[in-house]
Amino acid sequence: MSLFSVLSVSASGMAAQRTRAELLVENIANSETTRTAEGGPYRRKDAIFSSDSVSSAFSSELDAQLNGSVTGVKVAGISVDNSEPERRYMPGHPDADADGYVAMPRVNPAEDMVDLMGASRSYQANVSAMSAVKDMIQHSIDLLR
């Protein structure tokens, strides 16, 4: 049991929240994108979180066995929204079909902005945990002074 492994738990949380924020920003940036490499309009992406055991670089196998129940978090996958694109009437648009409708991404920027705030707050919570643990390590080191 080492305090240093707590830092990797918080780091895994920060990495996962950053990935989530990246996807949310991508959604907002592409909310009007009608052409993608896969064809059709942009589809909304979201991160799926799952808990995951973390091991720091120096942790032994025994340590992992003893503390296997304590977990970090990882991005298990990225879900792509496969619902029907929104059809908007824009006859002058180069991607409009014969009836003048354009398939637009089904992205709600307000929803993504709120999610982005949540991701940012969760990131901050992980940073606070890390800095509290860092102080504890510092105090242990101060015992030697």
Binding site: M1, V9, S51, S128, H139, L143
Partner: protein, 112 residues
């Protein structure tokens, strides 16, 4: 190391770091669907840690569960985070004081 009090303080710090790890993992999993808050029963774990056994984490009952099956309360975890850090500070200060007293005894022995 020095005496029984210091030994107990050492176990106390071990247990506090174990608890801090659990709190950090709860915070990291605050957005993981289906994740359940874990914690140590501090008093009974401290009694068994004095006899040298490993702490066991268990799930916390009675927390409101969100729609995704997750029941991590960030307020609860923030409180525990601060509490553990303060308790750890206290323990290190006490050990430091013990070490200072031993040092002083050595110094006094040298000067006479």
């Amino acid at each position: 190391m020095l005496d029984r009090v210091t030994d107990s303080l050492e176990r106390y710090m071990d247990l506090l770091s174990a608890r801090q790890k659990i709190v950090a993992s709860n915070i990291a999993n605050a957005d993981t669907p289906g994740f359940k808050t874990k914690d140590l029963n501090f008093q009974s774990e401290f009694a068994s840690a004095l006899s040298g056994s490993q702490p066991q984490a268990s799930e916390v009952a009675g927390l409101p569960v969100k729609n995704d099956g997750n029941n991590v309360s960030l307020d609860r975890e923030a409180r525990l985070l601060a509490e553990n850090a303060l308790r750890f500070n206290l323990a290190t200060s006490l050990i430091k004081e013990q070490i200072r007293m031993v040092k002083e005894a050595i110094q006094e022995g040298k000067s006479s």
